[in-house]
């Protein structure tokens, strides 16, 4: 919040500042106007006059203590550094498993799984163009496929994050794998990434064509089911990354994400859950752009706002409910096809912002993702970047090292004010669900995307190699892509056809009928839809069959497109 001036600074400071301002004005001539991506004006200098020492306890405080501006844990990265969770997923389950085992052997402690776009969109591999299978993720359509993906992984000891958009069939398949391996479900840890249906509807449209209302119901059932059966599982990751990648400013992305979290929390409360039962398992996922200080201030402001919302709006008593846990991914939109090795420098700057922002988990983009799905070579550099920053540059020795910087504290206040103002607009539009239904959010993001592109096109925003410092390049210097082996995917498809022919059709039909009934039922006492999906997965139903049934029963959805 903007705080009133003046406040108790020694007279000499104020006088010295006036002397500096006079000298600055004389020397700079015509000063350029600077605004960050969120539209906040940036001054040339920040001083003790920009911060109010009397507000230190309330607004800044200490790590591990509300409002968590300096970090959600007392030890932060000095104790446990962030989880290095690189996204992987390509080709067939067997290929995925080989790559996963390789990174686990090399020291990774967490699993990520990116499914093929066909999975995101709710289709089995026999429903889509064969050319598109496995090009951006692993083709996992059944419990058997998941068992292959995770073969040899100790599920009781390995945190598994899956890009598992509604209706969470990948988790249902994984539960079947755990059951086969004799692993207690209560020991499973990880996150249902991509579970935030509003962000899909608004920004990247990677959902299975389920209408908004149906998606809302499936998510809340998923959260309720996980709260009961999977105490160590995070059923919800609220995503700001999709919206910022789609063009939202950092302040808009944070505001819309917090507004979404409020929507989900309201829905959970309306479904009869108690805030301290679900809030500790809410997590967030953000973009880290190259707008360095703005990103750091965004994360610091986010922690502060979330602590206030959980305590004041929901009356949460458990400190775990107040903590704003987030995963950060460096922004792909900032990367350039021109002089692609420059992207390593960009990712480094973004990653530093994420670390100083106090993230819990990070994915650094490969420099070559702007050329194609990343190569293994590019992915290795991305991981090394994190290792270098942590162990060579010693970025984790001190907690919140920028805390107390006049600029960073002031910018944190200003980002907070901006975000709170946008959240109020969403609230006035009826909350996030209504604001998405009406296109309010989509329109805002579209306008910001266009405004940013215009700044790049006019040269107001420099992009090295694109609108300044261009060089002639030889395309042959770019890394060559390994083409997927189509024979492996053909064999995977043939296997799948055999599997579908051989399984118990009665079991499948019964499970899908149960799912249809659960979807049709309303009112108290109805079955939890996700619980029925878990049973359907164990009965041999495929991803496409489960998604198809829900689409039929709960209605098709299309993105509301605003140009």
């Amino acid at each position: 919040m903007n705080k009133p001036l003046p406040h108790p600074v020694p007279g000499s400071t104020a006088e010295a500042q006036v002397r500096w301002a006079t000298e600055y004005a004389a020397q700079i001539g015509r000063d350029r106007e600077v605004r960050n991506r969120s539209g906040i004006p940036i001054k040339p200098l920040y001083t003790p006059l920009d911060v109010d020492p009397a507000r230190f306890d309330a607004d800044v405080g200490f790590p591990g203590q509300p409002p968590y501006t300096r970090g959600i844990y007392a030890t932060m990265h000095r104790g446990r550094t962030w989880t290095q969770r690189q996204l992987i997923g390509l080709g067939t389950p067997a290929l995925y498993n080989a790559r996963l085992r390789d990174i686990l052997d090399k020291g990774a402690t967490a699993v990520s799984l990116i499914p093929c776009n066909s999975v995101f969109r709710g289709y089995d591999m026999d429903e889509v163009d064969a050319e598109l299978l496995g090009t951006c993720g692993v083709v996992c359509n059944s419990a058997d496929h998941m068992a292959t993906c995770l073969a040899g992984v100790d599920l009781a000891r390995t945190s598994c994050a899956m890009n598992d958009p509604s209706p969470f069939t990948l988790l249902a398949f994984m539960l079947d794998t755990a059951r086969r391996n004799g692993v207690d479900w209560r020991a499973l840890s990880g996150t249902s990434n991509q579970s935030d249906y509003l962000s899909h509807f608004v920004a990247n449209h990677m959902f299975f064509r389920l209408a908004l209302g149906g998606a809302r119901r499936v998510l809340i059932d998923h959260i309720a089911w996980c709260a009961e059966h999977l105490p160590r599982w995070n059923p919800l990751s609220v995503v700001g990354q999709h919206m910022q990648q789609a063009g939202a400013t950092p302040a808009e992305a944070l505001a819309f994400t917090l507004a979404s979290a409020i929507q989900y929390a309201d829905d959970c409360v309306a479904a009869g859950m108690s805030p301290d039962d679900f809030l500790p398992r809410f997590t967030f996922f953000f973009d880290i752009s190259i707008s360095f200080f703005e990103e750091i201030a965004k994360f610091r402001a986010g922690r502060r706002i979330w602590a206030r919302i959980t305590r004041e709006r929901y009356g949460a008593q458990d400190p775990r409910s107040w903590r704003f846990k987030f995963h950060g991914q460096t922004s792909g939109v900032d990367l350039t096809r021109q002089q692609p090795l420059n992207n390593i420098a960009r990712v480094t700057a973004q990653a530093i912002a994420g670390i100083f922002g106090g993230l819990q988990s990070m994915h650094t983009d490969a420099y070559d993702e702007v050329l194609s799905c990343p190569t293994q070579f590019g992915a290795r550099i991305a991981v090394a970047t994190q290792n270098i920053l942590r162990e060579e540059a010693h970025l984790t020795d001190v907690i919140d090292p920028l805390g107390g910087s006049y600029y960073v504290e002031k910018l944190t206040d200003e980002m907070e004010a901006k975000v709170v103002a946008i959240m109020a607009e969403v609230e006035a539009a009826g909350g996030m669900y209504a604001a998405v239904e009406s296109g309010f959010v989509q329109r805002r993001i579209g306008e910001s995307a266009r405004a940013f592109q215009e700044r790049v096109d006019t040269g107001e925003q420099t992009v090295v190699g694109v609108n300044r410092y261009e060089v002639d390049e030889d395309a042959s210097s770019r890394p060559a892509l390994a083409k997927p082996d189509t024979a492996l995917m053909d064999a995977h498809r043939a296997d799948f056809a055999r599997y579908k022919a051989q399984r118990s059709q009665d079991d499948v039909e019964r499970a899908l009928a149960d799912l249809a009934r659960a979807a049709q039922a309303t009112g108290p006492g109805r079955s939890n839809i996700f619980g029925v999906i878990v049973a359907a997965a164990a009965a041999g139903c495929t991803h496409g069959e489960i998604c198809g049934t829900l689409r039929r029963e709960l209605g098709f959805g299309h993105p509301l497109v605003v140009v």
Binding site: N117, G247, V333, Q453, L481, P559, V561
Partner: protein
């Protein structure tokens, strides 16, 4: 001598599975403001739908946006357009297209591939010229007509 009253008509779309549409929306909005008549579709279009729409709307050019490998089915679109007798429509592709795939697309008849970093006004200039060429071939101007 270009006709100053010429107004291109184009279809901006995404085919296949991916839904990331920042690029297609920005390009569509810019072309619209640059005087182009734009028919816009949400992502996830079937190839058959795109062909039908292109014919019904009588567009000069189709712009296909691709982020996550959907460009791999653009050759299918080219074949479907030819089979439907609409092989004269110019097709351009914009987005993440690896170098080797760009050659594959050009060989399949795609007129031009735009990569990240291109200026919107350069896309608009190309769209204007390519559409004018298509229109002229469709409706040749005969002297004294």
């Amino acid at each position: 001598m270009p006709d100053p009253a010429f107004r291109p008509k184009v279809l901006i779309t995404k085919i296949g599975l991916d839904g990331h549409d920042r690029g297609s929306r920005i390009v569509a909005a810019h072309l619209r403001d640059a005087g182009v008549e734009v028919v816009y579709t949400p992502p996830w279009q079937d190839i058959g739908t795109v062909v039908k729409l292109a014919i019904e709307e009588d567009v000069d050019l189709i712009g296909v946006s691709s982020l996550a490998t959907d460009h791999l089915i653009v050759p299918k679109l080219m074949r479907a357009l030819r089979d439907a007798g609409a092989g004269d429509v110019a097709v351009i592709v914009g987005g993440i297209v690896p170098d080797a795939d760009e050659k594959m697309l050009l060989d399949a008849g795609v007129a031009r591939v735009f990569h990240p970093g291109v200026k919107l006004e350069d896309i608009a200039a190309y769209v204007h010229d390519a559409s004018a060429t298509v229109r002229t071939q469709r409706f040749p101007v005969t002297p004294n007509a």
